[in-house]
Symmetry: C2
Subunit: 276 residues, 2 copies
């Protein structure tokens, strides 16, 4: 006859766990000896090992209680199911391991693969870390708020980036962040930007629903995501166009200048807009 400590060592569980199983009715309380100690038999040991094995496999104790007394067929079926769960959990842990490895690496854990590739392209292009960070955060917000729209939009933006002219404009906007607000290059940049946008309709702009999404997302600003030079740039683009590049007929009357500037800005910096 075994004491509780011997039984616990045999089954590889703690004394506390055994008493817990008694309370739950999983393991019948054995007879006590003259001093009140529990005295266990081999039957208890066998049952406890079964309980331990199922409990270790993650089966809730309430279910273990039913299973240890169940007929062999029920048990076999249950074991098959539990084994499946176990396999799933192993696969899950492996996935967690992979994610863990990426944790100290790049941004792939936070954005979709497409966006991650795009961010890598930006870095390769020589875009500043600050700007890449701003883009990343913008895409996180977009993906979170509307994954479907974000998916469409990242495709468009990557196509846009294949245009050398747009790339140059993007890089200059990036550089302009640190310029003085009175820098003489700002009006010229604003002009060139407006001209470029005047000549390029993005596919998504033809869909009102998309514009609505953009407008809502543009409102999801982060504080501190701008600079004096960028603010000046925004004001310049809201103002009248330069004499050398007159307004084009395509201007939608329903689209105000502020919205246009916001939209432009969103092309360069996803979450950089501070308007509404």
């Amino acid at each position: 006859m075994l004491t509780i400590g011997q039984l616990a060592d045999y089954a590889g569980v703690t004394i506390k766990a055994i008493r817990h199983y008694h309370e739950r009715g999983l393991l019948t309380e054995p007879d006590r000896d003259s001093s009140g100690y529990r005295r266990y038999t081999a039957e208890h040991a066998v049952k406890l090992v079964k309980i331990r094995t199922l409990a270790h496999a993650g089966v809730p104790l309430a279910r273990v209680k039913d299973l240890v007394d169940a007929d062999p067929d029920t048990l076999t079926a249950a074991i098959a199911e539990v084994d499946h769960n176990l396999q799933d959990r192993i696969a899950q842990l492996r996935r967690t391991r992979d994610q863990l490895a990426q944790l100290s690496g790049g941004d792939r854990l936070f954005v979709s693969p497409e966006v991650a590739d795009y961010l890598d392209d930006l870095r390769e292009l020589g875009v500043s870390e600050r700007q890449v960070h701003l883009e990343r955060d913008g895409w996180i917000l977009m993906q979170t708020a509307s994954p479907a729209d974000a998916c469409v939009w990242i495709t468009e933006k990557r196509e846009l980036m294949s245009d050398p002219e747009f790339r140059a404009l993007y890089l200059e906007h990036d550089a302009a962040y640190d310029w003085s607000p009175s820098d003489p290059r700002l009006p010229a940049l604003a002009d060139r930007t407006r001209n470029w946008f005047a000549g390029h309709h993005s596919p998504s702009e033809t869909r009102p629903v998309h514009n609505a999404t953009i407008a809502r997302l543009a409102a999801q600003s982060q504080p501190g995501a701008s600079s004096p030079a960028w603010d000046r740039l925004a004001r310049l683009m809201e103002g009248s166009p330069s004499p050398g590049s007159p307004g084009r007929g395509h201007d939608d009357p329903g689209e105000g200048r502020i919205a246009a500037s916001s939209r432009v800005r969103s092309w360069f910096c996803e979450a950089g807009s501070s308007e509404v």
Copy 2:
């Protein structure tokens, strides 16, 4: 700006988990909007994914709290360690899977491999399931109470079982369980058994400490592990030897007949003794 539900979906955690992280101080509480709803930024999303990855890897939240703000070197070192733990847990789960598979099978989960082999040998020999079960339970008790002694003893018993004469005696004892107590074969069996034991000293019997262990283990009886025929057999072996095989000089004066019978019985059925 994200609501708690959007953030939860993005990170693949529950709303409850996020609030839990707030309570623990892992994730700073964001500002509330006019209605008291929490409104999250991309910074929160990034941090939450980090927290989720570590928490999923089994890192205690108290430690996660330190890690998410730690410097890259500390983080890298910690990740390596966590990854090790993860591998261990995967190995552990695999072991649990193996054990689960054996749960509906044989006895290998409850006794050492040597004993399991021995039990298989018994079955192959044609020993009854009842007897095998009795043996199994006896070995469980022995292994639990004194693994070292059980290891020595199982070796001896397997050697004993290689003797054809002993095997025959063992099988007849097994069969005798169901005999009538007045069966005429019983006295003859008792005689042959006594004669066999008189001619065979087992190595362990020369060691007093071992005898003490055996005596203590023999006391660990299970109720109902006997039968009228076996009880008669025990009495017969306690009585005077048959005329044809007189007592031998080896009889230890300090060892009474009852103890001798108990010892004999223990050779045939580990936990079958009901004395002491």
